[in-house]
Subunit: 221 residues, 2 copies
DNA sequence: TGTACATCAGTGAACGCGCGTTCACTGATGTAC
DNA sequence: TGTACATCAGTGAACGCGCGTTCACTGATGTAC
């Protein structure tokens, strides 16, 4: 309940059980609280269909009707949730890339891939919402998967510029990486329902798979 | 939802004599009819959560209560549906393999992979049900994905025996293939919601991807 | 300064709906004697 | 042979439930004069 996902959400003294009404002019805070709660519930339920306005309201500690001050209806909430979670993922990937040295393009690429896998494993519901069940999208906008392919293709080109040789054109190779990671993570989601391997185990396996993929994509020296 | 206002009276005008009652001793036929209808609805809806007993009954042309003569409850129906669809897929793959010559192990492998992709594209709902949302599974039974990896690993070993050289151990390579195909198909499902490319186009792209994957897995001669 | 009013954040009860499930039943078809 | 009965395939109406959504409202906090 107090698990904060974002650094900017800084609730100091949250009364357990009873929710304190926001101050004047800060009504927008509830909007974020609702999105965070929806994201958490999505993570627990694993699918967007089990997600209900009443459930989200219960989780936040408000009346169902209060949601309508911030979102037009249920599908509006879900659309906002997609955007919110996707921005979160992109931000994480950008930070992971920036944390690696400029002189190590392969390291920057791997860091992004691993961050993508880490997010996907840690937030299966949101991940599926964004990449599998993605609802209708504006025609002129690119899908999330598309954006991701672009990011990774850029990373691959940087590797080429640094001397590495690809066995496929950069964009095709990027698709292999995104799609492979996507598939591997999905399998891991299925497994984790039954198997009792630790999340770290799952992560190690997925990272291993992604590294396999990376090594396949490049010429062996 | 927002259309609730108009849903005041929407009687399903099914032709009354559309379905004839089964004869004595053939009551089991309805069981299959129900599974087929559920599979079709799943294909249309794309997700198992939109699947309702009442919807299935409507589709078959029977009373909702009639389902209970063949399945204990909704989850029982879904479990039977998983089994039914998975057996269908395996049977298709077996036939595709058998249709290729014994002397062409790579052809046999490709045929199976393509069949898998074809089924996944043609039956997105069932595919997701089997491989993504797979419900609880007996501990001593292997998952569908597992069985598939075994099949393909066998195919890869046959290729090795015929002289091809793998860049990864057979099972790891099989995982790359299954997972890659899985991921590529999932992406294609997302795309097809928005993009207007023909199903044949999607198929060609997926086949191309899978062939890329195959070529990556083997040493270049 | 006090006070009237506007605005805000959020509530509680109600609505109509489709859902899964139960239960007593119906009418056709087979079987025993 | 006829007829009583068992069995089968399937029905129709009802139930309680949680859902999304609406609407009139409440009480706290700000602002104008």
């Amino acid at each position: 309940m107090t698990g904060q996902r974002f650094a900017d959400a800084a609730p100091e003294d949250l009364p357990k059980g009873a929710r304190a009404r926001n101050r004047w002019g800060q009504g927008d805070r509830l909007r974020t609280e609702i999105l965070v709660a929806a994201g958490q519930l999505l993570g627990e339920l694993g699918t967007v269909d089990g997600l209900t306005l009443r459930g989200v309201a219960r989780h936040v500690g408000i009346a169902p009707a209060s949601i309508y001050a911030h979102f037009p209806d249920k599908s509006g909430l879900v659309a906002a949730l997609v955007e919110y979670e996707y921005q979160r993922l992109v931000e994480l990937m950008r930070r992971a890339e920036a944390a690696e040295s400029d002189g190590d393009p392969l390291g920057r690429l791997r860091a992004q891939l691993h961050t993508f896998c880490h997010y996907s494993l840690a937030n299966p519901g949101s991940y599926r919402l964004i990449f599998v069940l993605r609802p209708q999208e504006d025609d002129d906008r690119r899908t999330s998967a598309h954006t991701l392919v672009d990011r990774l293709a850029g990373g691959l080109l940087a590797c080429e510029a640094a001397g590495a040789r690809l066995r496929l054109p950069a964009e095709r190779a990027a698709i292999v990486l995104v799609v492979g990671a996507h598939g591997r993570v999905a399998i891991s989601h299925v497994r984790s329902v039954t198997a009792t391997s630790s999340p770290t185990d799952a992560e190690r396996q997925v990272f291993g798979f992604v590294d396999d993929l990376l090594s396949l994509v490049f010429e062996t020296p």
